[in-house]
């Protein structure tokens, strides 16, 4: 299986083509996804787009990491890093 990689908060995360951002982060052992505007910690939870607690910022858009396919050379940030 060929792989690609994306950037997450300065780290390089490898992924399999077609894999979600959340799956790649979890396999890499990244459990903490920062916190949201309300100060709640973000993390992977339901895996099906229902809980909204895996939000990350991809190219300035806030999306669920579990629904978003990983892409080569994407720079994926935590929601809190995007807020500045």
């Amino acid at each position: 299986m060929t792989t690609g990689s994306f950037a997450w908060r300065g780290a390089t995360i490898p992924f399999h083509p077609g894999e979600s951002v959340a799956s790649a982060l979890m396999r890499a052992g990244v459990l903490q996804l920062g916190q949201d505007g309300a100060g709640c910690r973000l993390r992977y939870f339901c895996g099906i787009g229902a809980c909204q607690s895996c939000l990350v910022s991809v190219g300035g858009t806030i999306v669920e990491a579990c629904l978003t396919p990983a892409g080569d050379d994407l720079n994926i940030k935590a929601v809190e890093d995007e807020d500045g």
Partner: protein, 442 residues
């Protein structure tokens, strides 16, 4: 690239799991024009989640799934993958958030079949908001996606057959969990166990999973309850209440929780026979599992086709659906928690609503006020169910606590906190900004 601002179809099916795919194929083969919107980049849903990268792992139920896909391909259904349904506008136009294009797409349809599946029930417990805690189904999705297991020790807790199935999957992948904590005790409910014999498929599946647990020496601790999770020295420490009254500690890196399945019926437009007709199908109508989902999808499709043709169809559902309803009732009884759901015993600082950071104590305070609040106030002033998940993971517990404290208040079947107005998915609001560009370009 010129594209019409609004596309039109006879039927829009929302959700590309077993129920939605079966419904879409059935509708299209009846000669209707059909669009199928799925929020993920691939079809499959919770049960038939497909592995990435052409992995050749053997999947449960793959033959049924391939059959469903062939039906879909032959019928000429227009697939809209990576499209999140966010709601119906007042003029009956469905709004889809096209994730890849970062655009809102509008679809005008004479009927909608909503098949957005189930969500897991997860009871609040101290520490359930910590990172490293996920649902058992969420863990299962990772296993299905790549076959890779997140690093570290895993503990599974809660109630229901899915926990045993996930434990068996982990063993097969060479990563047995440290234990499976089960609130119920199926072995102590012989009546229900006997009735399960009428469903040999379920019995065989359970026997296979339990044999795997036994041969890997994974303890299945029945009648015990995960009382609290804390973060200690970079790991999760779980306190488990044992049946005799004592407690045991487990250290793990991942804790998977699951207390059952319920319909993902939050924020959905109401069912109606007026156009656009709205019908629900599969687990989002009634959580009856994969064995019922295909039959239910087809049943919904035939109902919709009849309504569009102006004829009335016999409303009685398929026999398969009745059978799965009985099977689910037996499983529910088998896995009924020995000590109840334990909400009364939760410490005040237990998070109840993760999205808004509201605690069990916050709700108790509201309920104790002399001028006790109604459900509306609990939602608006207490902010329970007002967060991003729209109450999906707190509404049941809030409703049960309110009912226990004040039996006179009726929460209704869907709970006090469900909202049936769009947007269904607040995160998509960001994408709405991009819609302005679309409007300008029109």
């Amino acid at each position: 690239m010129a594209e019409p601002a609004i596309s039109s179809f006879d039927v829009l099916v929302i959700g590309g799991g077993a129920a939605g795919v079966a419904a879409a194929a059935e509708l299209a083969s009846a000669g209707l024009s059909v669009a199928l919107a799925e929020q993920r980049p691939t079809l499959g849903g919770a049960y038939h989640r497909q592995p990435v990268g052409g992995s050749a792992r053997q999947l449960r139920g793959q033959r049924q799934w391939l059959r469903l896909l062939r039906g879909l391909a032959g019928a000429g259904v227009e697939q809209r993958l990576g499209h999140v349904f966010i709601g119906l506008e007042s003029d009956g136009i469905a709004m889809l958030d096209d994730r890849a294009a970062r655009r809102i797409r509008s679809i005008k349809a004479r009927a909608l079949v909503i098949a957005v599946g189930a969500i897991e029930r997860v009871l609040p417990r101290p520490g359930w908001q910590l990172d490293g805690v996920m649902t058992s189904g969420g863990l299962q999705m990772l296993l299905k996606e790549t076959g890779g297991v997140p690093p570290g020790d895993l503990l599974i807790a809660g109630s229901g057959p899915l926990n045993v199935a996930v434990a068996a999957d982990l063993i097969r992948l060479g990563r047995p969990p440290v234990a499976v904590i089960e609130n119920g005790n199926p072995f102590a409910r012989p009546g229900a166990a006997l009735r399960l014999a009428a469903h040999p498929g379920l019995v065989a599946e359970a026997a296979r999973h339990l044999a795997r647990l036994a041969s890997a020496r994974v303890p299945w601790l029945r009648g015990s309850a995960l009382a609290a999770i804390e973060r200690r020295d970079g790991r999760l420490r779980a306190t488990v209440r044992m049946p005799g009254g004592g407690s045991r500690m487990f250290a793990a890196d991942i804790v998977a929780l699951h207390d059952g399945i319920r319909p993902n019926a939050f924020g959905l437009p109401a069912e109606t026979q007026a156009q656009p007709i709205v019908v629900r199908a599969g687990d989002c109508r009634e959580a009856l599992g994969i064995r019922a989902a295909v039959a239910d999808g087809r049943h919904a499709a035939r109902q919709v086709a009849a309504m569009l043709a102006g004829t009335v169809r016999d409303g009685s559902a398929d026999r398969k659906i009745g059978r799965q309803r009985r099977a689910q009732a037996i499983l529910h009884e088998l896995f009924r928690p020995v000590d109840g759901y334990g909400l009364a015993a939760l410490p005040d600082d237990t998070i109840l609503c993760r999205c808004e950071g509201r605690t069990v104590g916050d709700l108790r305070l509201m309920l104790a006020e002399t001028d006790a609040p109604g459900l509306r106030e609990i939602k608006l002033n207490g902010r329970f169910g007002m967060g991003l998940c729209q109450g999906r993971f707190c509404a049941d517990a809030v409703r049960d606590m309110v009912a226990a404290a004040r039996p006179a208040v009726d929460g209704g079947a869907s709970g006090p906190l469900s909202r049936d107005r769009w947007p269904l998915r607040p995160a998509s609001i960001a994408a709405l900004a991009a819609d302005d560009e679309l409007q300008e370009g029109k």
